[in-house]
């Protein structure tokens, strides 16, 4: 094992880069902007220049670098080929090969961002100490990552862990961002929670502080629930029912030891864990009932931790 490795989290606005030691301690982290001009043609050169610049600055030789792990917001095949990143402007591109060439032959491994975040949380976050971990990221959408035996499950078509598109309600009439109907993301993402709240409050006859808020956010709802608002408590219960059932379905497939919930919605804290666990136990096959449900702890750093883990 060499002395250094880099973890890179490529987002649509910024690229986060971390310099790590082999035990996964961050020695330094910084950001560069994501240049989306010209369909993202400069992104890999910018990243390579930043990494090589840091190596020069610190006097780190190529022979001291174990490798470079990177995550991207799109499906990845064979830890190297990215199959369309809409947010960056990329089509099909062999990121592993191209970035390695720009880095003078350093080992590069590439993963999908949701999968890599799950790997990061397994290694240094909410899933620490476990090898079979499923992460659900509840943000604008719902992302997921499946880790078995400490490794990302990428899927045949790069779609493993796409738990946001599990069809939870075949009778749904509203359409998911992907074009199909009744998907988890329509109920458990930040936007889905607001949509559910608007629907519920429209026919809710009791008093509720949420009625004074146009398009209540997940935070509004959780805050009101913590203050005892009944409509808010009902909505939290609906979310827990949906998420707990989704986890119970996942347990029938891969039976993980722990579920880690991250993303903006998870800032609600323990109340979200408690309600999800309640319904998970209701729906789960008895053998899997004792899987843990916990909060993510790495926040925005999950990506760089998971990215570097790919090469360590």
């Amino acid at each position: 094992m060499k002395s250094y490795a880099f973890g890179i989290d490529l987002g649509g606005t910024t690229v986060k880069i971390g310099l790590f030691d082999p035990q996964g301690t961050i020695l330094e982290k910084w950001e560069i902007p994501t240049d989306k001009s010209n369909n993202g043609a400069n992104v890999l050169s910018d990243i390579a220049a930043s990494v090589l610049g840091k190596m020069k600055e610190k006097g780190i030789g190529a022979d001291q670098v174990e490798g470079v792990g990177i995550d991207v917001p799109g499906p990845v095949l064979n830890e190297t080929v990215v199959n369309r990143c809409v947010n960056i402007g990329w089509g099909v591109i062999d990121v592993g090969k191209e970035l390695s060439e720009k880095l003078g032959g350093l080992t590069v491994k590439v993963g999908n961002d949701a999968n890599v975040a799950a790997l990061g949380e397994m290694w240094k976050g909410g899933g620490q100490g476990h090898q079979n971990v499923v992460m659900a990221t509840l943000g604008t959408g719902v992302g997921g990552g499946i880790i078995l035996n400490g490794k990302i499950v990428p899927g045949t078509f790069g779609a493993a862990g796409e738990i946001g598109h599990m069809c939870m309600n075949p009778n749904e009439t509203a359409v998911c961002g992907c074009g199909k109907k009744g998907h988890l993301e329509q109920y458990a993402s930040a936007t889905g929670i607001t949509r559910m709240a608007n629907d519920y409050l429209a026919s809710y006859t009791g008093e509720s502080s949420l009625k004074n808020i146009a398009d209540p956010s997940a935070k509004d709802i959780f805050d009101a629930a913590k203050a005892g608002d009944q409509a808010a408590l009902d909505l939290v219960d609906k979310l827990g029912d949906m998420l707990g059932r989704a986890f119970a379905l996942i347990s029938c497939v891969v039976d993980p030891e722990v579920y880690v919930i991250g993303g903006g919605v998870s800032k609600a804290g323990q109340i979200l864990i408690d309600v999800t666990e309640k319904y998970f136990k209701k729906y789960a096959f008895h053998a899997s009932e004792n899987a843990k449900i916990t909060l993510a702890t790495l926040g925005n750093d999950a990506g760089i931790y998971g990215a570097v883990r790919q090469v360590l």
Copy 2:
């Protein structure tokens, strides 16, 4: 690689045993009864005696045997410890260790029967040529097995692949054999199909040949559907909807390349594949939509093929 290996499929009535070459050709296969007396205390000794007897008969030395793979009808941890086999009478028992001792130290690997059947179908059956395979066995119950990168996914609590207990309908009032409600097994097993048929026919006002049959079986229903009976076609459609949606859910977790359908219900043939595929495409996330759905081909031999594959 040595010249021989044994694959053993332990069922509640008989033990099937196969002698294989390292390429997976069956050289000989035979059965012995499963002695369930005294909580199955003699089962492993009977198996060992049969294997050692065959080795003596054929003049095969222990140094020519790569190993012995066995499957059991219960959850298995770490490829060795069985955690209760209700059908055999066993509690917690280290089958790998005990059988190896009775076999003079031969390598023994143990798997759950549904998982091992999936491995067999991947290797020599309907999933041949693929490394990421999910098998659904539609029999008295619904079993399943998940194969990723050519290996069984056992799960943390031995419950990976328990797809029969996926909660497909949270509003179901009837109870599954496991004590919870709305599970796939309640709709897609042989008994579940009959139950659905009775419910549907009770309120079906049209003509149907099925109305003349008390408790129509899956075979009765598929035969009537092939003959154009509308009620039977409706029931086949309901089954395909349920199974196709279950597969779409599974694809969001592990994204396999192929689904293999086995068990008694799969004798219906292509009509079952066609209707499952129709609904799979309806519900699946677009990236996974092209996964194949196919019939199992090994029948009752899937167990011994998969069992021996564990040691080859």
